[in-house]
Amino acid sequence: MSTTAPISRASMWPRIVLYAVLIVFAALFLMPLYVMLTTSFKTLAEIQQGNMLALPEQWTLTPWLEAWGSACIGLDCDGISGYFFNSIKIVIPAVVISALFGAFNGYVLTKWRFRGHKIVFGLILFGCFIPFQIILLPMARVLGVLHIANTTTGLVLVHIVYGIGFTTLFFRNYYETFPNELIRAAMLDGAGFFTIFFRILLPASGPIIVVTVIWQFTNVWNDFLFGVSFTSGENAPVTVALNNLVNSSTGVKAYNVNMAAAMFAAVPTLVVYVLAGKYFVRGLMSGSVKG
């Protein structure tokens, strides 16, 4: 709605105050990002002068290159690149497989209901609310038995298992609103269990796939506890490597390198959100409000 009447000065004040408050808070929230970015482009000498909020006098990319390729983590001085690719190796299969499992569970729990489907769903939901710490020991044992301890494959398994609860919840709620008549029509047309899933249901699941992917990607990428518990050395994900880099106690603290490394670790989730963010909100809404 737009109004054509001239806005009186008195009625403008609340709006001005509102925006002022919003701008202050936005600045406050963006401050850490600003400090990280500016610091990462400064030389170490400039940082040591102490002007944390100032823009770099001399822009330099060296800290970024160092963080990527030559910073020392533990005994190796190869930067975080290897660990970055570890994380990618973990996140892609973990997200794809857990999302597929979730979609499949949602399909069965809504369209092929069996006796006790509510209990099964309840138990799966239960998995969403188990604290990470509780499963550390049993999971370590499982990984040992399967001979995938201290591997990225092991972490993939952990994240798939842990993710299924949420992905099932997302897909089940989405498919709950998916008309049953479509399934029946497909059955009469001669489509089987898997054909209905892959040809009818999955192509119509765009919004909820985006939600699940963003959710899972963020959780898996940002995971620290599982990474630090089940891997060590060169098999660690980027979050663990970042921690090791920042917490190394030898020599001078290279804040600029640390900040650049932190940016490397943060960028993928940001990229995913920027690319698919508008679908994220849309997808979250679509379960509750019928389009």
């Binding site: 008549e181 479509l182 029946r184 029509a185 497909a186 009469l188 047309d189 489509a191 192509p203 119509a204």
Partner: protein, 370 residues
């Protein structure tokens, strides 16, 4: 040899019986309409024919084969759903061809079949669109195309017109009828709209509360109803149901009906033998609005016309007809007169009763007396 035989079919959900033994037989080329108020079990019966609901008891036979426990995809049946159920991610062509694709029909044949059906339904220009880009009427056509393209032995329609607006509904009704006549297809059609039932059917099955009330041609169901429910459900405005008393008048049998200030004597000509046993008892007479009219419109040729002067309570001109309401047996009675008949509210006017069309019901059992 009947084409579709529904043999004492029952459906139970736990302790509740939804269908209490339905027996229906139709021939090849028949258009069977299952009609009844919501909750009467008509959609359940249709789903059972399709194989989407299991049968608790009884048997289904299609073209001589028992199909009670055959998988839906193997029954050679196609269905048009109320919500159309078009696959949202496929184009119109994809939707229509999906059933053929699943049956591994080679692509060139499939495309030819899609084209033929699209031509027949006049949706050729829409073949590349997605269902979301179609209007209600177009979606309806695509849904029918999806059923037609497979050339099944039996078509099922589940309230296909109920999501369309009034004008489109009448147009599509005509089209479905034309399609049936052209293809000589066998159709089972579910609706709660008795006008749809009357216009489309070759056979009507009126259902209530999981029981079959009457199975017959539209003419049977309309003019020769089995019970009070069928009489009241079919026809709009519905059949006049008038309380009366049967008495012997010498050799003749007559029905006495109370008017506002007097009594009206109507001779009984139909079902006389059965009604003879009701002499001295109360019955409910059934007379269609068009069987009570003005003396000029009355069917003097085939009917048996009995005229009486009655007080006019309400007049409702519809343009084509003039509905005149009078009181008989303490109830409003609708008479359909020629438009422009000179009647005035509060005045007496001549009403012509076609007693040859008069039927009677037992007030207790609600069954037809015949």
């Amino acid at each position: 040899m009947s084409f579709l035989h529904i043999d004492n079919v029952k459906k139970r959900f736990g302790d509740t019986t939804v269908l209490k033994g339905i027996d229906i037989t139709i021939e090849k080329g028949d258009f069977l309409v299952l009609v009844g108020p919501s909750g009467c079990g008509k959609s359940t019966l249709l789903n059972m024919i399709a194989g989407l609901d299991s049968i608790s008891e009884g048997e289904l036979r299609l073209n001589g084969e028992v199909i009670s426990h055959v998988h839906p995809s193997q029954r050679d049946i196609a269905m048009v759903f109320q919500s159309y159920a078009l696959y949202p991610s496929m184009t119109v062509a994809g939707n229509i061809g999906f059933g053929l694709e699943m049956r591994k029909v080679p692509k060139p044949e499939r495309e030819k079949a899609i084209k033929n059906v699209a031509q027949m339904l006049q949706i050729e220009s829409l073949l590349d669109r997605k269902p979301a880009q179609l209007s209600g009427g177009q979606r309806q056509r695509v849904a029918m195309g999806r059923a037609l393209v497979r050339e099944p032995q039996l078509f099922l329609f589940d309230e296909p017109l109920s999501n369309l607006d009034a004008k489109l509904r009448v147009d599509m009704r005509t089209e479905i009828k034309q399609l049936h006549q052209r293809l000589k297809a066998t159709i089972v059609y579910v609706t709660h709209d008795q006008i749809e039932a009357m216009t489309l059917a070759t056979r009507i099955a009126v259902m209530r509360g999981g029981e079959l009330q009457q199975l017959g041609t539209p003419h049977d169901v309309y003019d020769d109803p089995n019970n009070l429910f069928v009489a009241g459900f079919m026809g709009s405005p519905s059949m006049n149901l008038i309380e009366a008393r049967i008495e012997k008048d010498g050799e003749e049998l007559v029905a006495w009906v109370e008017t506002a200030d007097d009594r009206l004597k109507l001779p009984v000509v139909r079902d006389r033998e059965a009604l003879g046993a009701y002499a001295g008892r109360r019955v409910i007479l059934g007379l269609r609005p068009e069987a009570i009219t003005d003396s000029r419109s009355a069917n003097h040729q085939d009917g048996i016309i009995y005229e009486a002067a009655l007080n006019v309570e309400i007049i409702e001109p519809t343009g084509a007809d003039l509905y005149v309401v009078t009181m008989l047996g303490g109830r409003e009675v609708n008479a359909r007169m020629r438009s422009g008949t000179a009647v005035e509210v509060g005045q007496s006017a001549p009403f012509a009763f076609d007693v040859a069309r008069m039927v009677a019901f037992d007030p207790e059992s609600e069954a037809r007396i015949r």
